[in-house]
Amino acid sequence: MIKKKAIEEICLKNNNAIIVSANGFISRDLFESFDKPDNFYMIGSMGLASSIGLGIATKCPKRKIFIFDGDGNILMNLGSLVTIGFLKPNNLVHFIFDNSSHESTGGQPTMSSKIELEKIAMVTNYKTFKIKTLNELQELLIKLKTISGPVLVLVKVKNNSKISKRVEYEPEQIKEQFMNSIRENN
């Protein structure tokens, strides 16, 4: 499955979820395919999307929080799996789009080709799922509505053939529109 297709499918079926997206091509794909005020595009601070998502999840218990992470990103902050598993936010769904590479920096390999990230998450109190096809993803998205988190979904993806455009908002604008949206809907 192509990464952008997976992102589109998840967003279309969950348009009320707050989304925190990792830097690089993941934020660009989300911006191009499903921009909305309660997306937080993390355009720097590589590795921290899951930590930012955790902070939001603990303070917005009535909302669903989706983290759109990458394999390179989570490998920089594996401790985050421990903290999330310890605090156990039941409204948090952590997607890892795993292409076994640092796509945004030129496709250098990551270690997820030999290490199963979902098994690490399993021992840190996540409910874990591994997805390879669009059909599997569609079935899981229905099931997810009734599963209490933290949930980790490892989605094996192939890179897009075309690079999505950069996030066009200024960082402060991303923050302001995100915070306003949370205030209005929390």
């Binding site: 930590s51 998502g53 955790l54 939001i56 603990t58 960082p171 929390n186």
Partner: protein, 162 residues
């Protein structure tokens, strides 16, 4: 900052609606952290950058937050500060323990302790050093800063050996 000052500092910040205290422990501020643990308001993270990420998320959700760390961890956090906290203008209070303040401190702290004031200055971080006589004024200053949407740092000097 002795034990009583650190406890009073925690209580003062809590009373002034700082709701979340996230960080990596430092013996320089252990009484502050213990007070927070007693009040069930502390999250100990695995690394300082992670603490900043969690506190950023809480702040984005409208909840006032503070991060605490030793200066060694502040060194770890510089890129997170520039590309997350400063770039998005996230109003966070940092409390940083100043190891290497005394030239007789342990060797691993000496170089960073020496260059810490310059690094804070280079980053353009507004800073106040806490002491027994003026800590309340400094804490009020920090609260005003985050009200205005700015990050700032409060420094606790390591003035003892153990």
């Amino acid at each position: 900052m002795d034990k009583i000052d650190q406890i009073e500092l925690f209580d003062f910040l809590l009373k002034n609606k700082v709701e979340n205290f996230i960080g990596v422990p430092d013996s320089t501020m252990k009484h502050f952290i213990h007070r927070g643990l007693e009040k069930n308001k502390i999250i100990i993270s695995t690394r300082e950058e992670e603490a900043i990420g969690i506190a950023t998320g809480m702040t984005l959700a409208g909840s006032k937050s503070l991060v605490f760390m030793q200066n060694a961890g502040f060194g770890n956090s510089i890129s997170t500060i520039t590309s997350l906290v400063q770039m998005y203008k996230i109003p966070l209070i940092f409390i940083i323990g100043w190891r290497g303040f005394l030239s007789s401190d342990a060797p691993e702290h000496l170089l960073f302790g020496k260059i810490q004031p310059d690094i804070l200055k280079l980053l353009g971080i507004k800073t106040k050093i806490l002491d027994s006589k003026t800590w309340k004024k400094s804490a009020e200053w920090a609260l005003k800063n985050i009200e205005k949407g700015n990050m700032c740092a409060l420094i606790i000097r390591r003035e003892f050996h153990d």
